[in-house]
């Protein structure tokens, strides 16, 4: 029975799902032999059948074949790497077909080619190409490798200074800073980081760190590990050397003491107030304004609690309290020593008080001044917006004499040096009705300006000449009252003017501003400040000149009063000498407000200051 399979050498698992495993020569299916052997049968077979080891499963027929002895021998030989045929001799003697012996007869009978007699043309072409290349220098002989031993020689054998190094812009790179104790492998304990410092170091951006590494301590040299950033640091240095733009930075090498200006010693500039000697208590609200009588004996103060108080300067005793019924914005004592009158500004009223704190003579003369108009003609009704009226009844007993009703809230009131005129400010950005000048003896009021030039902050009369100073938000205008024209406009270079004072000589003005500056103007010199003083930390609220001594003071929200010496020379070429001499502190900060007003004693080198803590201080 020939059961040769005709499927050829194919993977037999293709037939795995079929009942047959191929086809015989006739094209009939060869069916798989029935195999019902399981693992157990296989095992038993292995144990019992002595032929088992030479039994091979034929995949093509699906039957088991027992190998014969010859076949087993063949397998063994192949496995050992020997020839399959037992009779094959692998060590037969060699037959030399092509030997070194010259044969007398040629192997072939063919005559030799012509090209074996003549030189090759292609070779000639190739050689000539090479020759040409060598001639042209395209092909170079092999370079002799120098071993580097003789590479170095005395490069600087002829050091002639004629070779200039580089142009003058050359900046040599700075050397790497040398390491400090921090970098030691075993630093002193104070150089090691504490936990907080370490945490901070880790939090910081690498660019902000003071040290680029964390100091470490190792107990012995063998424990020191490699520094992981070493290559990195070298690389950074390389980058710095060729990429980093260089610039020559001049290091300022000055002794800081040399920078401090040499000023005359404050000791030599005495007298000036140095200590707080008296405190005037009694007000319950912030004291906005104070004023000293021309004799220097009395001090008037106006407060937000709606009262005006009169104090005796030397004893700090409150002589009189006048309830005016409203927050007092400004008080001003008549500078004329022959009358005793006080102007008070509150809400939209200016009150004229006669405190009767003087000689009978003086009181009489002031009464006369007030009543001069009544005896004369009726008040002119030219200015309808301002109404003059007399005080009556209870108010009269308190000392109130006149009421000047304004159309808007009055912020400041000032007297002319002669004592007959007084001016009041009603800050309003929108109208030209901001300043009124009143004449007391004739009970007349007039508005000197017909146009609005900005928010008026404060005003002042010139002490000698008929000039009028008006400070708007950023500048000071000086008007000639006789010619009725503007003569000068001072630029203060500050954002918002708060106060202004005119030197008793009349040629200098100081002006404080809310942006902490104090500017000193020399009217003969320029319309720009001669000096800007930035002494205060907070807004300047008030400034004042002393009438006799070369002193001026500024009060600020930082609770300090700074007294400066300011000598003015008659010589036009000599600039005023300004020296700060004393910082006076005595007020307590309340609601972010410190000192609100400052004024000098008319004859003594004393300064008064009123604060937001409802007190008035006298510094002597």
């Amino acid at each position: 029975l020939d059961i040769r399979n005709t499927v050829g050498n194919i993977p037999m698992e293709w037939y795995k799902d079929f009942p047959h495993i191929g086809y015989n020569l006739d094209g009939k299916k060869i069916y798989k032999p029935i195999r019902n052997k399981d693992e157990l049968d296989d095992f038993l077979d292995k144990m019992e059948n002595p032929e088992y080891w030479r039994t091979v499963h034929d995949k093509q027929t699906g039957s088991d074949v027992v190998l014969s002895d010859d076949q087993v021998e063949l397998v063994n030989r192949l496995q050992r790497g020997q020839f399959g045929d037992v009779n094959f001799n692998e060590c037969e003697p060699m037959v030399e077909f092509f030997s070194s012996d010259v044969m007398i007869h040629p192997v072939t009978n063919r005559p030799a080619d012509k090209r074996s007699f003549i030189p090759s043309l292609t070779e000639k072409e190739k050689v000539s190409k090479l020759v040409h290349a060598i001639k042209m220098g395209w092909i170079k002989p092999r370079r002799v490798e120098d071993d580097g031993r003789g590479r170095y020689y005395n490069l600087w054998a002829s050091e002639d200074s004629s070779i200039l190094a580089r142009h003058k812009m050359h900046l040599p790179a700075p050397k790497i800073p040398l390491p400090g104790h921090h970098e030691s492998y075993n630093p002193p304990p104070e150089y090691l980081f504490t936990d907080e410092e370490r945490a901070l170091w880790e939090q910081q951006d690498p660019a902000d760190r003071k040290l680029p590494f964390v100091p470490r301590k190792y107990s012995s040299l063998r424990q020191v590990p490699a520094f992981s950033q070493f290559i990195h640091e070298r690389f950074e240095r390389c980058l710095d050397l060729y990429l980093c733009p260089r610039q020559r930075k001049m290091r300022v090498n000055v002794n800081p003491e040399d920078l401090i200006p040499q000023l005359p010693k404050p000791k030599d500039l005495q007298p000036f107030p140095t200590t707080r000697s008296l405190v005037y208590r009694g007000h319950s609200g912030l004291v906005r304004s104070i004023s000293v009588s021309p004799s220097g004996q009395w001090l008037a103060s106006g407060s937000d609690d709606g009262s005006v108080r009169f104090w005796e300067v030397c004893s700090s005793r409150c002589m009189k309290t006048v309830q005016v019924g409203g927050a007092v914005k400004s008080v001003a004592w008549n500078p004329n020593p022959s009358v005793c009158l006080l102007a008070v500004a509150l809400d939209s009223v200016v009150l004229i008080l006669s405190p009767s704190l003087a000689d009978k003579q003086v009181i009489l003369s002031s009464e006369r001044l007030l009543s001069a108009q009544q005896e004369g003609e009726e008040p002119a009704e030219g200015n309808g917006s301002v109404v003059w009226s007399e005080a009556e009844g209870e108010e009269l007993n308190q000392g109130l004499r006149l009421k000047i009703q304004h159309p808007k809230a009055v912020h400041q009131v000032v007297w002319h040096a002669k004592g007959d005129y007084l001016a009041s400010v009603m800050p309003d950005n929108t109208s030209h009705l901001q300043v009124y000048i009143h004449q007391l003896s004739r009970r007349r009021s007039q508005n000197p300006f017909s146009r609005n030039k900005g928010l008026v902050q404060c005003i002042s009369f010139h002490p000698i000449r008929p000039y009028f100073f008006v400070a708007t938000q950023r500048s000071i205008r000086i008007y000639n009252l006789v010619k009725q024209e503007m003569t000068k406009k001072l630029q203060t270079n500050s954002k918002w003017i708060s106060s202004m004072a005119v030197h008793p000589g009349g040629d200098h003005v100081i002006c404080g501003s809310y942006d902490c500056k104090l500017s000193w103007f020399d009217l003969d010199l320029s319309t720009k400040p001669y000096k800007m003083l930035r002494h205060h930390k907070k807004a300047v609220r008030g400034v004042a000149y002393h009438r006799l001594y070369p002193l001026f003071a500024s009060a600020s929200d930082d609770g300090s009063v700074i007294v400066c010496h300011g000598t003015v020379y008659n010589d036009l070429l000599q600039n005023p000498l300004i020296v700060p001499v004393k910082v006076l502190r005595g007020h307590v900060m309340t609601h972010d407000l410190g000192v609100l007003d400052v004024t000098f004693h008319p004859t003594q080198p004393w300064v008064f200051s009123s604060g937001a803590d409802a007190t008035i201080c006298l510094f002597t």
């Binding site: 170079k140 092999r142 170095y152 490069l155 600087w156 050091e159 200074s161 190094a165 142009h167 812009m169 900046l171 040398l178 390491p179 400090g180 104790h181 970098e183 030691s184 492998y185 630093p187 002193p188 104070e190 590494f213 470490r216 107990s219 012995s220 040299l221 063998r222 020191v224 590990p225 490699a226 520094f227 992981s228 950033q229 070493f230 290559i231 990195h232 640091e233 070298r234 690389f235 240095r237 060729y242 990429l243 980093c244 733009p245 260089r246 000055v254 800081p256 920078l259 401090i260 200006p261 404050p266 405190v279 003083l533 300004i578 020296v579 700060p580 001499v581 004393k582 910082v583 502190r585």
Partner: protein, 585 residues
């Protein structure tokens, strides 16, 4: 009237500078080539004074080179070499593409190379200029010589760097010019004084590097190329200045001849020469064999007054230096295998000591452990098995500290297993007002020749003094506040009284004996002066004030830092003391 209108940016600083891109275009170079050229020629960007003017009104961040620098580059022969190299690479690629191996071989044989000699001469017209700039070169070469010979850069470069660094170290040994050594956490800093120039370099510890990925090794390699050339020429010149043979040869008639037989097992013939040289144990051959060196005697010049003092100071310094050079002379060291051999051998030989190590550690050992004449054995392990009785067993830090202190320090602090005293940086020179660690004070006392017995007390006293000073300062600061406080208190009293008055209570009238207020005159004067100063500061101009504030801020910060360090030290010492006390109990 008339005349052409002046155009902006056609004169002045705008014409003196050129941006990088424009410079590159002008030179017709690719960016890497431009970079290399800048590195080799030492061209760097300049920061113009008015950047906006130079930048033609724009504020874009740009780097500017000086136009003169770029013009100077135009005539550089190396630029031509760069182009040749570019062509070479192109040809090679082509040959590879066509698989013409003979052409590849031929091209490779004729690979274009360039020399940097003329650039070195141009950048450093005098030898001193070159010496001044050699710090970076040394650092770089020492780093490259520690690289593994795989990847990253050419093996030849590494070998060359190693050779040059060994030559440098040998020169420093021969000239005895090492001055300071510092073991930092980064590596070992050395400072040598060569021809009057202080040269500092840092050597990393002997570990394999883990190469960072964000480092451009091409840039480093270009720098190394320049630096090796520079270092080679400098070494040649230095060797010839000492009458030494260059390239260095070992002195053949010296008594410290390494044994012949061990050479063969150690290294190949070609390498053993460099290895022997790098062992640093043998002296070098001289051109003119003159054993006795002429000591440069400082001549006496007739001088007066200040010059005299200066001269004396100089003489003293010279003497000290001479003494330092012979610091380890007559001492015989033996290095255990766990200490850094090269660094220690270098330091010891620089100061005239004799040194040896175990035969298996390195070539060039001259004597054995068993040698009875050994005076110091450097050891860095907690304990040792067999101890010889006639030698000190000390930790390596002793050597370095001795070098920095310029005297032989007492060995007790550095014995085997002892907690080492802190290692201080010799590069820090404390000015007045700076913080000085107590160890430094101790060392300075030793240098002055004082006995180390009573120094602790001194330290304490000094510390106390410092404390007092601080307190005083604080008091000064508080002075004004106190006054204010007094006033406040007074006011309070007044207020109380007033309140009582207003309530209608009768006051407790009582007369108490007044206390005499003692006025401290000195203090008053001081206060007055302080106030005067404060007032004067108020009158400073804005610009000067700014400068003054800046200076004072810096000064204050310095003081603060010094105080902080002192406080930290004090806290540490206190805690140590407390621990000791506890331990005693």
């Amino acid at each position: 009237m008339g005349g052409l209108q002046k155009k902006k940016f056609e004169r002045g600083s705008a014409t003196n500078y050129i941006t990088r891109n424009r410079a590159r275009k002008k030179l017709q170079l690719s960016l890497p080539d431009f970079r290399r050229l800048c590195i080799l020629k030492g061209i760097y960007p300049h920061e113009p004074k008015h950047k906006k003017k130079v930048n033609k009104g724009s504020t874009a961040p740009r780097t500017f080179y000086l136009l003169k620098d770029i013009r100077f580059l135009l005539h550089e022969p190396i630029v031509g070499k760069f182009r040749e190299y570019k062509i070479f690479v192109r040809k090679l690629k082509k040959a590879y593409g066509k698989t013409e191996w003979s052409a590849v071989e031929r091209l490779r044989e004729n690979k274009p190379t360039y020399k940097l000699d003329h650039i070195i001469k141009e950048r450093y017209p005098t030898f001193i200029d070159a010496l001044r700039d050699i710090d970076d070169a040394l650092c770089m070469c020492f780093l490259f010589s520690t690289f593994a010979r795989t990847g990253k850069c050419h093996v030849q470069t590494i070998q060359l760097c190693r050779r040059l660094t060994v030559e440098w170290m040998n020169y420093v040994i021969a000239s005895r010019s090492l001055r300071k050594v510092f073991l930092s956490i980064k590596g070992i800093y050395y400072q040598a004084e060569v021809m009057g120039q202080l040269i500092t370099w840092v050597v990393p510890y002997q570990f394999s590097h883990d190469h960072p990925v964000d480092v451009d090794y091409r840039v480093m390699a270009t720098f190394t190329e320049l630096y090796t050339t520079l270092l080679g020429f400098v070494s040649f010149r230095l060797y010839s200045s000492l009458n030494l043979v260059y390239p260095p040869k070992l002195d053949s008639n010296g008594e410290s001849e390494p044994k012949e037989e061990s050479e063969d097992d150690y290294a190949m013939n070609s390498e053993s020469y460099l290895e022997k040289l790098s062992a640093l144990s043998a002296s070098l051959a001289r051109v003119v064999s003159s054993a006795d060196e002429e000591e440069a005697q400082l001549d006496q010049f007739p001088s007066e007054g200040e010059d005299m003092e200066k001269m004396e100071a100089r003489e003293k310094e010279l003497k000290q230096q001479e003494a330092q050079k012979k610091l380890f002379e007559g001492l015989k060291f033996y290095l255990n295998r766990e200490v850094p051999r090269e660094s220690l051998a270098f330091v010891i030989r620089c100061f005239g000591g004799q040194v040896s190590w175990d035969k298996s550690v390195c070539i060039g050992s001259t004597y054995d452990v068993t040698d009875e004449t050994i005076t110091h054995q450097i050891i860095d392990r907690p304990s040792v098995g067999k101890q010889y009785i006639n030698r000190y067993y000390i930790q390596p830090q002793w050597l370095y500290d001795c070098v920095n202190a310029k005297i032989l320090l007492p060995v007790e602090d550095y014995f085997l297993g002892v907690t080492l005293p802190p290692h201080l940086s010799p590069f820090v020179e404390e000015k007045e007002g700076d913080y000085v660690p107590p160890e430094k004070l101790k060392m300075m006392a030793l240098q002055r020749g004082e006995k180390p017995g009573n120094e602790q007390e001194e330290d304490e006293e000094e510390e106390e003094e410092e404390g007092e000073q601080e307190e005083e300062q604080e008091e000064d600061d508080n002075g004004d506040e106190e006054d204010d406080e007094e006033e406040v208190a007074e006011e309070k009293n007044l207020k109380k009284m007033e309140e009582q008055r207003s309530q209608g209570k009768s006051l407790h009238v009582k007369v108490t004996p007044g206390k005499l207020k003692v006025e401290n005159k000195a203090r008053l004067e001081q206060e007055e002066k302080a106030e005067e100063k404060r007032l004067a500061i108020m009158m400073m101009k804005k610009k000067e004030k700014y400068l003054y504030d800046k200076i004072m801020f810096g000064k204050k910060r310095k003081v603060r830092e010094a105080n902080k360090l002192a406080a930290k030290r004090k806290a540490h010492d206190d805690s140590e003391k407390a621990k000791k006390k506890k331990a005693r109990k």
